[in-house]
């Protein structure tokens, strides 16, 4: 007998988790199946809603206002601005993120020394915002290549930020290997083990504060690469701040991105608390049904196990998450073989410039107003299948800075609607 639920969500990224969470909180009997690590480990952990209009206008101050003038076919137009707000309200409730106090975007310093507009940011990023006019010291570590603090400080000044900013590089206390992963730094600070520094042994956080302290020149805030703890980031940040007498913030770095991994943990915990069933590590490889999905097959240890549900949500990701695949001949959606519009000639899939107007960035499913994928002819593929997140097409999330927002809003809308419609 098949494993059954009212709503089955396929995919464990931001869209899938939000979808399952929305469905569960609406009282649905929900199961989430996810094949592998989500792409959140590659993401900055910032939750962008809309930073730039499709024509490049921006950075946008108010993303919600701008949503209404997006072109037809953009996922935000499909779900509407109210769904975006409801999704963010749910997100704010289950995470320790900031930004909900205003409709305005925040400008967050990036590890490359630019600023980027975002709608929600982890609490640990809050003291680093570029609209905050307090001077800032950026601190990088000798062996941590993704954040060169002196190099990041220069262009921030060039971009005219309203505060003084300097960068320094210090050795991270202890004897981490030169190519240690960011999680090793984070664990050391979480556990606060004794480390050797300057010939004596002291707790890791105190040793780090001592390494930074001589470089402080009255700056009231200090930014680090995002390695300040995995399980206890708030505590690490607070201790460092107290020792240095400053506000401490993180500059998102990665991959692997600790802010992304922390967000993934928070959402899985919220989903668990909401009573959903969660299964990770096994892919959905096939389905059964015509016009309506009757069952999907999950591959476990070489066996194909049927899973049934009344309503299905497809949130398998885009080209990065492999929810959209391609070969030399064309582009496809691998689970249900839903139609993915794309130019016939693969040399029309990209632009000549690295940051040009790439067709591939918009590859994904087109849907009706209910987020149900459409065939090439414009009819609904399956009555009980909705799609959410990066598997959707019609938007260029890197250019717009809209990836997380679209995943939240469409995930929320799909999960909520699936529960309403389930028997």
């Amino acid at each position: 007998m098949a494993i059954d639920s009212a709503v089955l969500v396929i995919g464990g990224g931001l869209a899938g988790l939000t979808s399952a969470l929305a469905a569960a909180r609406a009282g649905g009997d929900v199961r989430l199946v996810s094949a592998k690590q989500s792409t959140l480990r590659n993401a900055s952990g910032l939750v962008d809603v809309l930073g730039y209009a499709p024509d490049g206008t921006g950075p946008l101050i108010d993303p919600f206002e701008a949503i209404t003038s997006l072109p037809e076919g953009h996922p935000y137009r499909t779900v509407g601005v109210d769904a975006v707000r409801e999704a963010l309200a749910l997100f704010d409730e289950v995470t320790d993120y900031c930004g909900g106090h205003t409709d305005r975007n925040a400008l967050v310093p990036t590890h490359g020394g630019t600023v980027k507009p975002t709608a929600r940011y982890p609490r640990g990023v809050a003291a680093g915002l570029a609209s905050d006019d307090r001077d800032a010291l950026l601190v990088g570590f000798e062996s941590l290549l993704d954040f060169d603090a002196p190099l990041a400080a220069d262009p921030l000044r060039a971009a005219g930020v309203p505060f003084g900013v300097r960068g320094v590089t210090v050795g991270f206390p202890g004897d981490l290997r030169a190519d240690a992963k960011v999680t090793r730094y984070a664990k050391l600070l979480d556990v606060n083990d004794e480390v050797g520094a300057n010939g004596r042994s002291r707790a890791a956080r105190a040793a780090l504060a001592a390494a930074v302290e001589p470089h402080l020149d009255g700056e009231p805030r200090v930014g680090f690469p995002a390695v300040l703890g995995d399980d206890r980031p708030g505590e690490v940040r607070r201790t460092l701040g107290e020792m240095l007498g400053v506000d401490v913030f993180e500059v998102p770095t990665g991959p692997p991105s600790l802010p992304g991994l922390r967000l993934e943990d928070a959402l899985f915990a919220a989903l668990d608390a909401a009573g959903a069933s969660i299964e990770t590590g096994n892919p959905v490889v096939d389905f059964e049904g015509e016009g309506r999905v009757e069952a999907v097959y999950v591959e476990k240890n070489g066996a194909r196990i049927p899973y049934t549900a009344d309503q299905y949500v497809l949130a398998t990701g885009g080209l990065v998450g492999k929810g959209v695949e391609s070969d030399r001949e064309g582009v496809s959606e691998p689970v249900f073989d839903c139609h993915v519009p794309h130019p016939a000639d693969r040399y029309d899939w990209f632009d000549e410039d690295a940051f040009g107007d790439h067709a591939f960035a918009g590859f994904g499913l087109r849907t009706d107003a209910q987020l149900r994928p459409l065939t090439a002819e414009g009819t609904v593929e399956f009555d009980n299948l909705r799609a959410a997140g990066a598997v959707l097409g019609g938007y260029d999330f890197p250019a717009e800075k809209s990836g997380s927002g679209v995943s939240l809003a469409t995930g929320y809308a799909a999960g909520w609607a699936a529960t309403q419609e389930a028997r």
Binding site: G99, D132, G318, D327, R328, A354, A399
Partner: protein
């Protein structure tokens, strides 16, 4: 000697750097000028095959003999640039038996060690070889890193007093009283190593003799002094796979044609190639059919290639030349032999010599012939020593030492670093301070990047060709910004940013021909990392001023939505 003749060599490929080294070793005062990076032209755009000569053993035995002789020389003098993979000429059922026998006879006649193995034996060596391959001939083909080899030639020439000017375009030949007396060059960024943002300038370099070693560009240089050099540039595509599906060079055993060679190269294999005559060595179409043709054709030798991941494709232009009276129709029929053109004798224009045609494997021999010729012209009595004196990196070198422990590197990183650096490993890797891995795909550490920067200024593409950083699976997605960071400290941020943008653009160029399947996924991830996480596509420093006060300044600050107050509150409420 206070008055050594001054020779200007035009062209920083294998031939030009080889000539520069040879002349410098023979006591000449040499200046090399190159319009781009070293290897910018054809040398940097080849498949990396160190010919055994087997390829030419049927049609062109003179070339075949030169190849095997130079193959043996390069294994000695450039050990750290060469990987002796061995090679196979593989016969499929539809390939002619007579040609196979002819190949074997030709190899033997040219002193190329060759023996026949069965299909089963060939598959035991290369398990992914097609089931229906009948038999093969083994030959001593190898793989060579053209970048490393050229940089080593240039570095050695510089150590011997030569001046090396990259990013310096020859804009004219100076001709006085019917004789070439120098060149006029336009430096992109001042003389010396290239630094972004440094004002360029024009320079007249006087010379006692000018050597035109510009390959496919030779006609352009000749035209500056009114001489005709009939180069017939021919383009070929090379497609880079993400892993080594094979560890041996595989040649199709049939008359020369398109898509008949697979060369293992570092972490990749390179599929080649096509042969199409073009009008302009810098401007020709790079076409989808060429990529598809090499993949589909070579899949008949190694079937898994059909659906394997490719990481980029690039095109190179052969500097083919044939004397005006031959008149071959197809580029495949044009000889791969080289020609030394003495313009004094040929055109009545003393002071200029051109070297055209030829191939990478015989670059040293070509250089020797040119240097002999120049020696003759000036009555210098000095023997060529380039066949005996190892290049820097290949002297007294043993990979058996435990470099991993010595330099604190994880084993695959240490092994690969030392393979690239050869006998220079001590100098480069023995650094103070941590030495993290900058490029994980190719295992390139900070020390190696900084060593390359010392040799090449702020040009990250020059750093790339010296180290292989950003040339692996992710095509720079994870390491371009790290490489740029290593410039900082020596160079200011605007220089770093320009170098970084240039590297991103160069990396994108070749990937465009590999955008399907997993490499399209990779491209989307790279785009997301660079545009979403780093916001490099809309850097406010490049755009107009930003009204910072209009944006959110944090949840705990009191200013609220009234923009003007936010900027003026002095940050008092920040805690």
């Amino acid at each position: 000697m206070g008055s050594s003749p001054h020779i200007v060599v035009v062209g920083g490929g294998s031939t030009g750097t080889g000539i520069t080294r040879d002349l410098a070793m023979r006591g000449f005062d040499v200046t090399l000028v190159e319009q781009g990076n070293l290897t910018h032209g054809t040398t940097g755009r080849m498949h990396g095959l160190l010919h055994s000569g087997g390829r030419y053993a049927v049609s062109d035995r003179a070339s075949a003999r030169e190849c095997i002789a130079e193959n043996r020389v390069l294994r000695e003098i450039a050990a750290h640039c060469v990987e002796m993979t061995g090679g196979l000429f593989v016969k499929r059922p539809e390939d002619g038996e007579a040609y196979f026998e002819g190949k074997l006879d030709g190899c033997r006649a040219c002193d190329i060690p060759a023996s026949v193995i069965s299909g089963e034996e060939a598959r035991a060596m290369e398990p992914h070889l097609a089931r229906d391959v009948e038999k093969a001939i083994t030959v001593p083909d190898g793989a060579v890193d053209p970048f490393r080899l050229v940089v080593a030639n240039a570095a050695d020439a510089r150590d011997r007093g030569a001046r090396i000017e990259t990013h310096s375009t020859v804009t004219d030949l100076l001709v006085e009283a019917g004789e070439v007396v120098g060149v006029e060059v336009e430096h992109e960024a001042g003389p010396g190593e290239r630094v972004h943002g440094v004002e360029g300038g024009r320079e007249e370099i006087r010379a006692d003799h000018v050597v035109n070693a510009t390959g496919a560009w030779a006609g352009r240089i000749g035209a500056m002094a009114g001489v005709d050099i009939e180069v017939r540039p021919s383009k070929g595509v090379m497609t880079v796979m993400n892993v080594r599906q094979v560890d041996t060079v595989l040649n199709r055993c049939r008359p020369k044609g398109d898509a008949d060679v697979i060369v293992p190269h570092e972490t990749t294999v390179i599929l080649g190639t096509t042969d199409e005559e073009v009008d302009d060595p810098e401007d020709y179409p790079e076409e989808q059919w060429e990529v598809d043709a090499v993949i589909d054709t070579l899949a008949s030798l190694v079937p898994m290639l059909r659906d394997a991941r490719t990481i980029r494709s690039f095109w190179g232009v052969r500097p083919l030349y044939e004397p005006p009276d031959v008149g071959s129709d197809a580029p495949t029929d044009i000889t791969r032999d080289f020609f030394l053109l003495d313009h004094a004798e040929r055109d009545g224009l003393p002071g200029l010599t051109s070297i055209v045609g030829g191939k990478f494997t015989t670059y040293r021999l070509m250089a020797e012939r040119v240097a002999d010729h120049v020696c003759g012209r000036f009555g210098v009595d000095a023997d060529c020593r380039t066949a005996d004196v190892p290049l820097p990196g290949s002297e007294d070198f043993s990979v058996l030492r435990d470099y991993m422990d010595e330099f604190g590197l994880r084993s695959p990183v240490g092994r690969r670093s030392v393979e690239r650096l050869g006998s220079r490993a001590d100098d480069v890797l023995d650094v103070d301070g941590p030495n993290p891995t900058v490029c994980e795909c190719e295992a390139v550490t900070r020390a190696e990047i900084r060593d390359a920067i010392e040799g090449s200024g702020s040009d990250l593409n020059a750093v790339r060709i010296r180290t292989r950083a950003s040339m692996g699976n992710c095509q720079g997605g994870f390491c371009c910004h790290r490489m740029a960071s290593e410039l900082h400290g020596t160079y200011d941020e605007p220089v770093v940013r320009e170098a970084w943008d240039e590297l991103l653009a160069e990396r994108w160029k070749g990937q465009r021909h590999a955008l399907w399947g997993r490499q399209l996924s990779q491209a989307m991830l790279n785009y997301a990392l660079h545009a979403t996480t780093q916001n490099r596509d809309r850097d406010p420093a490049d755009a107009g001023p930003v009204d910072y006060a209009a944006f959110d300044d944090g949840p705990t600050r009191a200013g609220g939505p009234a923009g003007a107050d936010v900027a003026a509150d002095g940050g008092q409420n920040g805690n």
